[in-house]
């Protein structure tokens, strides 16, 4: 689909290969996974929907800002869209760097920024029905 969004299962090894260089001594990986409950509600599947072009633009901005702040670290981010089952990866963030401190820092900063600003929504499906949820796991309009 694109650099940052995909309808296909996430392949973390591919992302690592995209960013790693011979001078790297550290790769930090974050994988977000569909959990079987949220706020006490049982969850069997999650549907992810994005404002595609804007989500891509916002993720580009995250990458640019972190590249400026950590010039020796490279970052790959991929968010999956569509309907996912419990245990499937919804987002992968990979940061490669000569040293682990920067790799961890960039990986953490990237996932926090994604959650905060990238226009992606999720709808939970479970035995009690389906609902859109907000970042705190509360059901929302």
């Amino acid at each position: 689909m694109s650099l940052f969004l995909t309808g296909e299962p996430l392949e973390v090894d591919d992302l690592i290969r995209k960013v790693i260089l011979p001078g790297d001594g550290a790769v930090a990986v974050f994988i977000g996974v569909v959990r079987n409950e949220n706020g006490g509600r049982a969850v069997s599947e999650i549907l992810y929907e994005a404002y595609g072009p804007m989500a891509e633009a916002e993720m580009s901005k995250i990458a640019l800002a972190l590249a400026e702040e950590y010039p020796e670290t490279r970052l790959a981010m991929l968010h999956r869209l569509g309907r996912l089952s419990v245990g499937e990866a919804s987002v992968a963030v990979v940061a490669a760097s000569p040293h682990r401190a920067e790799a961890f820092a960039v990986c953490r900063a990237a996932i926090e920024a994604i959650k905060k600003i990238v226009p992606i929504w999720k709808k939970e499906f479970g035995p009690d029905g389906a609902s859109w949820v907000d970042p705190n796991g509360e059901t929302t309009l």
Partner: protein, 81 residues
């Protein structure tokens, strides 16, 4: 002024469609459009506060003036990751 409105997630379901074109008065702001939509779709008023808005795929303040051809979206609470 003609703008294109995009609806996502719960807003798309509340509106029953993903996008539409709409005329707004000259000088109308993003907030004016939000208030108009809220009157038509009472479900939107269930939100605790006004949602973030995007014009042409950039976050903007609600005071932003709308221009011909703008792509406008109001974003329900995001939950990526």
């Amino acid at each position: 002024v003609k703008v294109r409105i995009l609806y996502f997630a719960s807003f798309r379901e509340a509106r029953g469609l993903g996008e539409e074109e709409r005329r707004v008065p000259d000088g109308a702001t993003v907030e004016d459009l939000w208030q108009a939509l809220r009157r038509e779709l009472p479900e939107l008023a269930r939100l605790p506060g006004p949602p973030p808005a995007a014009v042409n795929r950039e976050y903007v303040p609600h005071a932003t003036l709308l221009r011909e051809g703008d792509e406008v979206a109001f974003l329900p609470p995001i939950a990526g990751g």
